[in-house]
Symmetry: C2
Subunit: 179 residues, 2 copies
DNA sequence: GAGTTTAACTTGACAAGGCAAGCAAATAGG
DNA sequence: CCTATTTGCTTGCCTTGTCAAGTTAAACTC
């Protein structure tokens, strides 16, 4: 059934794999922790608010927002419930299509994002960039761009029956508004 | 209270941050998916079995195993329940210390790990290393080692009241047995 | 050596995410 | 137009992780 010698990791690869995995497991938790303490929200929720704040009219259809935030629709639906309860977002049926729901960032939501962003950026710096040289930042960008591109392929090839092919959606993350 | 200009991310940093975050969010999910399909277990469970398989007598105390797997004790306790139900691990009180519990990898567990490892490694290659040059692999090792070292500091400084200081535990991940 | 403190787990209640089923609006077909 | 299908979202159930409390054993104090 399986190959006798399945191409093990080289020593150099193993030396990269362990800290990479550790980083992948801890980075989201570390971001969650800071945002939870300072702003009472998760990293994912912040990403949703940030994504909304960058949109025309601070409004997006849920299905598109889910795509922007790398989320499933059920997950997003529940998160919007919570953001709605907090008064940061409002839900409203799309007048142009009764099936769709529009999420809009409220003024209170804008304030919240603006109040939260500096601390979040500071944490990102402290966790990642403060320890890297400019050259390493460039290397990191190149490498992670390659890796994350793999997930795009995965997402398109594996789970779907093959639908729309979508060349336009190159998979932007929700944090566009950080820059 | 807060600085007027909170040191925003540079363009280069933002270019690294977005794909890094995407990678951190998707890598664990992608590993889970493969292991779930091929072996009926999560990435975390695989990590626990792999950590056990590398130990003298395939046996470790739960508290130390939790440290090796970057896990909390409650989480590990429940995972061991499941691994126990599957016959891959057995629990046994530590004869040397009645408070402690020893987890031992069974023969069936060893077989499971050995049967699972090749597919897992193949996935790791496909997701990460197949797209990187040897130089990039070295860069990645250097960079992620720096980043993950930050989490060690975080874990020691932030949440604890200041306990043992532990210079010995440099935070190895559970995947030692991949190399 | 009895009483208190600490350590190692376990358990229970609760929140979060995933999957599948349900529902309502829009589109398509005849 | 009336039905059938598809699309967009919501809901319910189940699994999993976290936090706090409980339990038992060791260590420490006097």
């Amino acid at each position: 059934m399986d190959d006798k010698e399945p191409r093990w990791l080289t020593e150099a690869e193993a030396a990269a794999w362990m800290p990479l995995l550790a980083t992948a497991m801890w980075l989201p938790a570390a971001l969650d922790q800071q945002l939870q303490v300072d702003a009472g929200m998760s990293n994912f929720e912040y990403g949703v608010l940030a994504a909304l704040s960058g949109q025309e009219g601070r409004t997006v259809r849920l299905s598109e927002l889910a795509r922007m935030a790398n989320s499933t629709l059920p997950r997003l639906s529940k998160v919007i419930d919570r953001l709605d309860r907090n008064g940061w977002v409002i839900r409203r049926p799309d007048p142009a299509d009764g099936r769709s729901t529009l999420a809009t960032l409220t003024d209170k939501g804008v304030e919240k994002v603006e109040a939260t962003a500096p601390g979040h950026v500071a944490r990102v710096r402290a966790l990642v960039f403060d320890h890297l040289t400019p050259a390493q930042v460039r290397q990191l960008a190149t490498i992670t761009t390659k890796i994350s591109a793999t997930f795009e392929l995965d997402r398109i090839c594996a789970p779907r029956p093959s639908r729309d092919s979508s060349a336009e959606t190159t998979g932007n993350d929700a944090r566009a508004s950080l820059a």
